[in-house]
């Protein structure tokens, strides 16, 4: 299981700049980012090298931050592997609230982050079928 930080922001220019500035001052690296937006507000979701430190840095800038547990998987970077791994969840009736993908310097793998109601059981299902999970430690060392 990996830790994601979610930040509530008003929909106006400069919000992501402010957050990334707070992170850079603490020497925190952003591994993945996903922005959900509505007309009036946005939610920025980040996977970072040090979630706890990131939360403190962003909170001190008067932002609302929350750490949530999400499932991270690592799949072969080739056609068909997304379907294969996600099918396992749908067969078992697990709904994905949202997900996003990212790539790293590694040419062999693609990474997914997904938020589900019950991350423990989702991880169990994936792991039993041989899907590689990403650990928090791995994120820190990416």
């Amino acid at each position: 299981m990996i830790k994601q930080i979610s930040i509530f922001v008003t929909n106006k220019p400069g919000q992501i700049v402010k957050i990334s500035d707070a992170l850079s001052k603490e020497n925190i690296n952003i591994r993945a980012m996903c922005v959900a937006d509505t007309q009036d507000f946005g939610i920025i979701r980040l996977i970072v090298s040090d979630p706890q430190k990131a939360k403190e840095a962003i909170s001190s800038n008067k932002c609302i931050v929350r750490i949530t547990n999400v499932v991270g998987i690592k799949i072969p970077d080739k056609p068909g592997s997304t379907k294969q791994s996600l099918e396992l969840l749908s067969i078992n009736g697990i709904n994905i609230d949202y997900m996003y993908a990212f790539v790293t310097r590694s040419k062999d793998y693609a990474y997914f982050v997904m938020r589900v109601e019950d991350p423990e059981s989702a991880e169990k299902i994936l792991e039993e079928s041989g899907v590689e999970l990403i650990t928090q430690e791995e994120i820190e060392n990416l």
Binding site: S6, F8, V9, F41, I43, K62, C63
Partner: protein
Amino acid sequence: MYLGESAEKAGIDTKKLPLRIGIFGAEPWTEEMRQSIEKSLNIKAYDIYGLTEICGPGVAFECAEQKGMHVNEDHFIIEIIDPETGEHVPDGTKGEIVFSSITKKAFPLLRFRTKDIGVITHEKCACGRTFVRMSKPLGRVDDMLIVRGVNLFPSQIETVLLKENQSPNYQIIVDRSGSLDSIEVDIEMKEENFSDKPSDIIKTEKTLENKFKSALGIKPKVKLVSPDTIPRSEGKAVRIIDKRHVYENK
């Protein structure tokens, strides 16, 4: 104004209607709005002043000159006072409007402080009447707002926020889009209320809109905002932004 716009949309020529006069009260309106109403409905628009505690509408009314409202002095005594000291202020000076009723048999009121700010003049009017004339209300002594004819106090908003476990840092934004007042309440998000799913936040906003509707009688738009959004003045959030400019301060 809404009627005028609707008539135009429906293709009704208001010049052909038998309407002559309209009486408008219950909420502040400006000279510009008078001109717009008179033009679009092809009528003379007169201002009326009244308040529920005294007798409702009919305390003071404009004559054909449209230069201030004649107070019906055979029924009511008007005084203008300095709200701080309670002393009378001279004609032409702004102060709190105070009424006493003379002829009411039930629920008489002596020196009832309206919390409305206005000025009066005892000068004889061109229409010939000598009853004292009062200006339109020029503001409020307290923080009451009148939106779509509904009286609204920020404390009512605060009660709802407290009950719903929301932040006490909020801001009321009143505006006028077209001919209708709009009201928006921005509330700072509390960390414990934050869900990272947008649908949850929108649901909370809708719930709050309905709670306000039942507490206030009008439904505002509710926006949850991040904690740095609401401007502070001397450490306290600025509570009300009224973009309508309904009080003409001369």
